[in-house]
């Protein structure tokens, strides 16, 4: 029904994607890239482009490639395919897809910008390692710069968290099945950050629509082959023909 589809996904979505793929028996191949590439959008672009190129040059290239990514600091701008439509959700980061709501609805959520969002993927690949490695980082700084500077650097690492007013754990109905013990982990990470956790109801609906074919053009954008992705001044996705594809 949907043709041959391959998925390139940020590992932040691994728990949710694996749950849905197993439950609904989707036969897509999924290529996960490490969480955190958005810290260096140029690197994100390089990695996603590499994965696209690999799929297109494989013996059995897909009919469509689904990108489970937000625009993530413009990391997806400039990605291009030679022959394969690229389909992506109309979101600027992963949070709307995890919450299960469109970008505009997420923007309108009260306190959204001051929320330290948590999900199984965010906790596993980013937030828990940050919290548990604090002592190790301190020791490394101390060895390199001395104790006074080490204390200062750890304080600076946490200073960005002072802008947040609460931590929001995105809760799907299957949360504990996806990630056993996650509420305790969220509590630990939030306490380390000096924040209180609140549960925020999430939904599988947006991701399921994506996996079911991404037909809703209000929610999904299709980048034609030999076009690159960019943003308009109002934040809408645009396709621009590329001269650089051979």
């Amino acid at each position: 029904m949907h043709g041959c589809i391959s998925i390139i996904a940020c590992e932040v979505f691994r728990a949710e994607l694996e749950l849905l793929i197993e439950e609904f028996q989707f036969s897509y191949t999924v290529h996960f890239l490490p969480q955190g590439l958005h810290d260096d959008p140029d690197q994100l672009r390089v990695r996603v482009q590499g994965a696209i190129d690999e799929l297109e040059s494989s013996p059995c290239p897909p009919d469509r490639i689904f990108l489970f990514y937000g625009f993530c600091g413009r990391g997806l701008s400039g990605v291009v395919s030679k022959r394969t439509p690229l389909v992506l959700p109309r979101i600027h980061d992963c949070i709307p897809l995890l919450l299960g709501i469109p970008q505009k609805e997420k923007n309108a959520l009260a306190g959204s910008e001051k929320t330290f969002w948590m999900s199984p993927g965010w906790l596993k690949y980013s937030q828990l390692p940050f919290a548990t490695n604090r002592k190790r980082r301190f020791e490394e700084y101390k060895e390199k710069f001395g104790e006074d500077s080490a204390n200062y650097l750890i304080d600076m690492e946490y200073s960005w968290l002072s802008e947040y007013t609460s931590a929001g754990l995105i809760c799907w109905d299957e949360l504990d099945r996806m990630s056993p013990g996650i509420e305790k982990t969220a509590d630990f990470v939030a306490r380390d950050a000096g924040l209180e956790v609140r549960k925020v109801r999430g939904s599988r609906q947006y991701m399921l629509e994506f996996l079911n074919g991404a037909e809703n053009e209000d929610l999904f954008f299709t980048l034609p082959p030999r076009n690159t992705l960019s943003l308009s001044l109002t934040g809408d996705f645009l396709a621009t023909p590329s001269d650089e594809v051979e």
Partner: protein
């Protein structure tokens, strides 16, 4: 003697030794050096080295942060003396992250590097509205407004800052510098901002250049 102590200040600053820098700056003051001499020959000389090494990826954010902290330890002692010496201001920058954006690590780094160049930097913090940028620039007679955005959902507000400036008494007088991970020079051109810089070191150099030319 004075060259030796200035070199010691510079070296300790580069190693991020804030307490040692403060002690050495006080010693230089006690030995009769002017605040301007200590600032230029000791503290800023050290931060210039840091700036070059950071731009060349020879050192990274932790080294810059502790060097900037050491610089601040020195300038805290010099500040009252600089006022007394009637030192000419190099320029004033209003800095902040754009409306709805809370990511300020990069902005803080830019502020530190600009201060290390001798610029007065008025930091408005995060989530700054276009009106707040303009009001602060008027109040402080600033040459530059510098705003950063880290999210593609917030960078769209940079256009609002361009518009706010154009519709105010600052039109044609203040320069708008922009930065942040999703921002680039094409975006700068599309929104009508004046300058884009890719990193904190370049931002500080450009700001000094703008203020010197103003």
């Amino acid at each position: 003697m004075s060259a030796a102590i200035l070199e010691e200040i510079s070296q300790n600053l580069q190693q991020g030794k804030a307490n040692e820098v403060a002690t050495l700056v006080q010693k230089a003051i006690d030995e009769g050096m002017t605040a301007q001499q200590i600032l230029d020959g000791g503290l800023m000389a050290g931060m210039d080295v840091i700036g070059v090494r950071f731009k060349n990826n020879d050192i990274f954010i932790p080294e810059v942060l502790i060097a900037a902290r050491a610089m601040a330890a020195g300038t805290d002692l010099l500040r009252p003396l600089l006022v007394g010496e009637n030192v000419e201001k190099k320029g004033t920058v209003i800095i902040g992250t754009i409306k709805d954006d809370l990511h300020d690590i990069g902005k803080n780094l830019v502020r530190m590097m600009m201060e290390s160049k001798g610029l007065d930097v008025i930091d408005l913090g995060t989530d700054v509205s276009p009106e707040q940028f303009v009001e602060a620039a008027i109040e402080h007679n600033a040459e530059i407004i510098a705003c950063s955005a880290l999210l593609t959902t917030t960078m769209v507000h940079i256009k609002d800052v361009v518009t706010a400036i154009a519709e105010s008494e600052l039109a044609g007088k203040v320069k708008l510098m922009i930065g942040g991970a999703p921002v680039n020079d094409d975006f700068r051109e599309s929104v009508g901002a004046d300058y884009y810089t890719p990193d904190a070191s370049t931002a500080a150099e450009k700001a000094l250049e703008i203020c010197t030319a103003a």
